[in-house]
Amino acid sequence: MTKFRAVVKREYVQRVRSRMFVIVTVGAPLMFALFTVVPILIANIKTGGPTRVAVVDESGRMFARVRDSLKSAQPARDDDDDEAPAAAQGAMNQNTRARMEQAAKAAAQSFEVEEVPAGGGTPEEVRARLDGRVGRDELNGYLVLPRDVLSGGEVQFYTRNVGDVFTRGQVRGAVVRAVRDARLDERGVNAEVMRAVNQPVRMKTAKAGGGGETDRGQGFFLVFGAGFVIYLTILMYGQVVLGAVIEEKETRIAEILFSSIRPFTLMTGKLVGVSLVALTQFAIWGLALVGLGAYFAGRGASVAIPQVSLGVYACVVLFFLMGYFIYATLYALVGSMVTTSQEGGQLGMPIILLLVVGFYLAFPVIRSPNSSFAVWVSLVPFFAPITMLIRIVSQEPPAWQIALSLGLGFATVAAMLWLAGRVYRVGMLMYGKRATIPEVLKWMRQP
């Protein structure tokens, strides 16, 4: 047991102290942030001051409304026409959209609005003049409100930068509000009624039978994120185990080690040591997340800290460990069969394939978490770490299914350890050539 501990300790200390660990631990969240936050920030970078917009009001009575509406600019909600029905795209999409809107709100820009009389020439001349000013950067863009704007005439927005979706959205929102108000006003609806009509409708999605607690998709986000992180982490640490085993074989350290410790003890020690490194990394990320959440909450920002029960967190850890041990054991087996890292990479490909299949199976399971397909898939040990987690968060499956999945999974871990141990014992001392499958099968049968 003390020898087992020595192996675990070496594996853990060496890896946690390594530069690679620091890079991944710090780098991964940074990368994540880079890919989610930075695009929004970049999209929001506003060069210069307020957006200068000229309005050519051919109808002659809309300018004031449009100006006021622009001045009190609110983020665009294109919900009634442009956007496809969100339901089909799943909660992820809603989440992204919410983020975009939030970002747009943060970037709510101010407008400088000026009126350009429509009578100053033919419409073409007016436009040519305004185009010129836009070209000289005196204006960011101009609006042309047609005479029949209230009865469906098309409003034109000419702008230097057609790709600036935020400005476009805000201008559009302002025009829509102004025109709607004008239409209602025209039909004698008073302002009070208008405000009441315009009151936004809010909808909240909560899990049925969830005790009324609010869940705005964070649970889902958590599990999807967790699934992805688990998938990547299993892959990454599986490769670590592969590399560690190959190192000891390549350098022939195995020979010294085997003269001091039983091969099975050594192998399991390595697996456990590396798993602790992975858990340490999770813990650091988790604490950082909670810390950041608290920091932002303290500053009044509304940061969604996933509200999921402790049971779910426990499941995340359990299913991660199960997946890790299944795949890392496979990697240990492969590592003891090959002679170089290159060979290890080649022979490891099927393992990656298996993992990828498990990851993609997540999508049909997300769509219908309680279908019999989902149930079966979440019981298969190789896929359960991701698929069962998704079921747990989306629509809690019966406890017996979770228990069965865990039971099957850890039974598989035990069986794999036993098999891998037999191959490892012989393979680690076989130098010079890669072991063949028949040889490996023979080693497994050897007493």
Partner: protein, 303 residues
């Protein structure tokens, strides 16, 4: 350490890998406090035998007894092993990994730290303790590997080709350390195919070839039992006596002297008498023991 009890006793041990028999009913005894040479050409079964002694593999037949007990994992802690194929963790500090290897032998804590410093001093590597293995030269790495084998103060030390690839200065250094360990009462099994080295350090030897034991015993016994008598000769005069095949089996001529291999049963005294009687002026007449090298060539190369 009792003198009576052998450190290692191997009885009729056989190890097969599929069709191939790597070790064939081998028996040998290693006495405590001696340096035992396990000699033989490459592929003779030396490494397989050693692997069975250190508990990496188990024999298919026969028994192995260490310190008077059947081999168990616990006994592994009393063995130090320097394999022929050896390595270190490249990215780990050498001091740390030596402590790790010692810990796997159940030796840790303050005592281990002190022993580590002592050994680093002995092999003149004190300044390198905190360096990573990849920064060390090959010879230094080999000395570190040697420390890995002896750090936990084993009663039985097994060295498989310990000097291969070392420069003469370091060969002398390690050889002295090995002899020092012997003085301290340790038993050492020394596997090599370099007969010159074996001849200088071993007390007892066992020669194996093609999975079988060819001969064994103390160096003295082996040499005298080899039944080969050679005479180194330098003389001026008639050398007709050397043609007598009842007396001289063969003659090997060197630059200024020659070596005459006596025929079986022939007496060196008779040869000297005949030479003198023939009027030769003898300036050198020396009975030469066969070297281990000669024995090796004869026993192994002749087959």
């Amino acid at each position: 350490m009792s003198e009576q009890q052998p450190t290692l006793r191997i009885e009729g041990v056989t190890k097969r890998f599929g069709e191939f028999t790597a070790v064939d009913s081998l028996s040998l005894t290693v006495r405590a406090g001696r340096i035992f040479g396990l000699l033989g050409p490459n592929g003779a079964g030396k490494t397989t035998t050693i692997r069975m002694i250190v508990g990496i593999t188990r024999p298919d037949e026969g028994t192995l007894e260490l310190f008077g007990q059947p081999v168990t994992p616990e006994l592994q802690n009393r063995i130090g092993y320097l394999p022929e194929e050896r390595g270190l963790y490249k990215r780990m500090r050498v001091g740390d990994q030596l402590k790790f290897f010692a810990e796997l032998k159940g030796f840790s804590g303050r005592a281990a730290d002190e022993a580590l410093d002592r050994w680093f001093e002995k092999v003149k590597l004190s300044d390198w303790k905190r360096r990573k293995a990849s920064e060390l030269s090959k010879g230094m790495q080999q000395k570190v590997q040697f420390i890995a084998a002896v750090l936990h103060d084993p009663d039985l030390l097994i060295l498989d080709e310990p000097f291969s690839g070392l420069d003469p200065v370091n060969v002398e250094l390690l050889k002295d350390l090995v002899l020092e360990l012997k003085e301290a009462g340790k038993t050492i099994i020394f596997s090599t195919h370099q007969m010159e080295v074996a001849e200088r350090v071993c007390d007892d030897i066992c020669l194996v070839n093609r999975s079988r034991k060819v001969l064994s015993g103390s160096i003295r016994e082996v040499k005298s039992g080899f039944g080969r008598n050679a005479v180194a000769l330098r003389f001026e005069g008639d050398d007709g006596v050397l043609e007598d095949t009842r007396l001289v089996a063969s003659v090997e001529r060197h630059s200024d002297d020659l070596e005459a291999l006596l025929a079986p049963g022939a007496d060196a005294q008779e040869l000297l008498g005949r030479l003198l009687a023939a009027g030769a002026r003898v300036s050198r007449f020396e009975l030469v023991e066969p070297s281990l090298h000669d024995i090796f060539i004869e026993k192994v190369g002749g087959e």
